[in-house]
């Protein structure tokens, strides 16, 4: 599992290491991962329902299927490490420890939302939890995440910036300006490409001249690795290595998370550009939550009953969030004019 240089990756023809079996998690880690991923899953299912009921307007990009990426990465961080991402951000916020109520109420445009309803699904932040958004413009967060890393280096702390973006954003120009600057200045940033295989409705191979996105830093000397992003163990293992790489002063690194979103790009996308069989295959054979459940049961580290109890607890949190987000007051009209300037 050594972090391969792009040169080595290019020579071997692929940076993918999906066939390797990652190290086991402890029982507590498996259960925590199960719970954290399930919270995101149930939250997103509920958000989808509320959207269908007309309680959520605008855009709503669900994270279902990709849960292992943020949960595994979060397991490798320490306090003060920063997270920034694009518009498919609900999972990242929950993984960072932001409250379900505040996120859901932002989706429904209520005053109890993280941005008092002024941000919406794509624009939420928690400086307290070191979550810097939530950005709507594809790829825009990549220079910002690079700037977070610059600030860490300027201050001389050993914190790391986790800068997430998708396979679609990987073809935006500012990403490569950032790669160059980050390597030139040796900044502690992990670029995490969540390759869910479709940029909106266009498959990666139809949009990208080279489809192994882990090697996209090769022109700048940034190492990269492709990881099975459906397996939380693999994500955590590579995340820990990448975090250490950055903390040790080695500069930026790229992790390409091979993952899959079960839903359309947004709620308004019926996803007719792919087959039902393709989606079903991921759901039945690769699902990140079911993988953990199966391991916990096979190793007798937990029981059906105990896991059901976790699901019940998670559902209660999500139902409470939905209830709050449905009944909370709308923002006061005066909020229209607040926080434009200091």
């Amino acid at each position: 599992m050594a972090i391969a240089s792009n040169k080595a990756a290019a020579q071997s023809g692929s940076a993918r290491r999906e066939t390797e079996v990652p190290p086991d998690l402890t029982k507590d880690q498996e259960i925590a991962a199960f719970r954290d991923m399930l919270l995101i899953r149930r939250f997103e299912e509920k958000a989808g329902q509320l959207y269908g009921m007309g309680l959520i307007g605008g855009f709503c990009h669900l994270y279902i299927g990709q849960e292992a990426v943020v949960v595994g990465m979060q397991m490798s961080l320490k306090a003060g490490d920063q997270v920034i991402t694009g518009y498919r951000d609900h999972g990242h916020m929950l993984a960072c420890g932001m409250e379900s109520r505040g996120v859901m109420a932002e989706l429904t445009g209520r005053r109890g939302g993280y941005s008092k309803g002024k941000g919406g699904s794509m624009h939420m932040f928690s400086v307290e939890k070191s979550f810097y958004g939530g950005h709507g413009i594809v790829g825009a967060q990549v220079p910002l995440g690079t700037g977070l890393a610059f600030a860490n280096k300027y201050r001389g702390n050993d914190n790391v910036s986790l800068t997430y973006f998708g396979d679609g954003a990987a073809n935006q120009g500012q990403v490569y300006e950032s790669f160059n600057m980050a390597k030139l200045w040796n900044l502690p940033v992990i670029y995490i490409i969540e390759n869910n295989q479709y940029g909106m409705g266009t498959a990666v191979a139809r949009a990208s001249a080279t489809t192994t996105l882990a090697t996209r830093g090769s022109a700048h000397g940034i190492p990269g690795e492709s990881v099975d992003g459906m397996d939380v163990r693999a994500v955590k293992a590579v995340g820990e290595k990448a975090v250490k790489w950055c903390r040790d002063g080695n500069g930026p690194i790229i992790l390409e998370m091979m993952t899959y979103r079960y839903r359309g790009h947004s709620m308004s996308d019926p996803a007719k550009y792919r087959t039902k069989e393709e989606v079903d295959k991921y759901r039945t054979e690769r699902d990140p939550i079911e993988q953990v459940r199966a391991r916990l049961l096979a190793k007798k580290l937990s029981s059906d009953e105990a896991l059901k109890k976790i699901d019940t607890e998670v559902r209660a949190i999500v139902n409470d969030a939905a209830e709050f987000a449905t009944n909370d007051a709308e923002p006061d009209a005066s909020e229209l004019y607040t926080d434009v300037y200091a």
Partner: protein
């Protein structure tokens, strides 16, 4: 008190703030080792070292994005975009990221940064290196926009911009870098959102910005000596926030309003000021508001063409005189 060029005032203004606050970091293309393409930042690298004064790659989006990322954590970056025309290359950060972050985050995210840039014509650089784009920024809620016309204001407004908690776009005029002015010793701190009366007068108000201020002042002298028209010249200095009090007060005294704008005519900053005065002070006016601007054209490179495109002293004199005698 010492005489200083506008160019040297830039470096002194930045140095004043970097000495005061270790969170101020300065980055841009050719700003450190080369001292800036207009030599406006000479000496800063020697004074503050390569950690705080940083040459960047030619990557305008990464410059502004990294500056904002750092600002979100509490640093106070000053980022240079060499020519304001290049704002079009990195406009996502100027239009979508800096100015929206506070609003979209319920006030959690702060963006205390300054973008300095070389604005305006006069150097025969042609259509892509000569524009006055202050109106591009004025139209975006969440940005503050200043454009000093003299060395003292460069230092004072730079201090105000760096100390301001919001993103400030700081337009330096390329054709003013070599100009000189008296500057007091010691720290200079000005206020954003304040216009100054550069020349008092009783017959008409001329509102001007940046390079158009010295031209309006020269025109006012001629209008007085040759036509007996006594013009008040207001240096608008700050487009956002806008000092409407000083502007409306001047129009209330003189009863006439002229703008001298280097930006192309359509949606130039003077159109907004004309709208404000028409709304708030219509009955103070004794005649139509007249805007003297660059036409709605790309800027040419040839000496003769560039000279006739921009409002000149002669054009200002002619337009004001004709309108006052109409």
């Amino acid at each position: 008190m010492a005489e200083l060029t506008y160019r040297d005032a830039v470096a002194r203004g930045i140095a004043q703030e970097m000495e005061r606050d270790p969170d101020v970091v300065f980055l841009g293309e050719d700003v450190a080792g080369a001292g800036g393409v207009f030599k406006a930042t000479v000496g800063l690298l020697d004074k503050f070292g390569p950690l705080r004064v940083r040459d960047t790659p030619i990557s305008e989006q990464a410059i502004l994005g990294a500056a904002m990322g750092a600002a979100m954590t509490g640093l106070k970056p000053i980022a240079e975009i060499m020519f304001s025309d290049f704002f079009a290359v990195c406009f996502d950060y100027i239009a979508n990221e800096f100015p929206k972050s506070r609003y979209m985050s319920n006030g959690q995210l702060k963006c205390p940064l300054v973008v300095r840039t070389g604005n305006g014509a006069g150097s025969r650089f042609g259509a892509q290196h000569s524009q006055s784009v202050e109106n591009w920024c004025m139209m975006i809620p969440g940005l503050k926009v200043v454009a000093p016309s003299n060395p003292r204001d460069v230092i004072g407004l730079m201090a105000a911009a760096v100390r301001d908690p919001d993103p400030v776009i700081f337009f330096e005029h390329k054709s003013l870098y070599a100009t000189k002015g008296e500057v007091p010793d010691g720290e200079i701190v000005d206020r954003l959102g304040t216009a100054t009366i550069a020349r008092p007068g009783k017959d008409a108000t001329i509102l001007a910005l940046a390079l158009m201020v010295p031209r309006a002042l020269a025109a006012a002298e001629k209008l007085k000596s040759e036509h007996g028209i006594d013009c008040e010249v207001v240096d608008v200095r700050s487009l956002v926030p806008l000092d409407t009090q000083t502007i409306l007060g001047s129009v209330a005294r003189t009863h006439r309003m002229f703008t001298v704008e280097e930006n192309p005519r359509l949606c130039g900053w003077g159109a907004e000021l004309a709208s404000i005065v028409a709304d708030e002070a219509f009955y103070d006016l004794d005649g139509p508001i007249v805007r003297i601007t660059t036409p709605h054209i790309p800027l040419p490179a040839a000496d003769l063409l560039e000279d006739i495109a921009l409002p000149s002293v002669e054009r200002i004199v002619d337009r004001v005189n004709k309108s006052m005698n109409a």
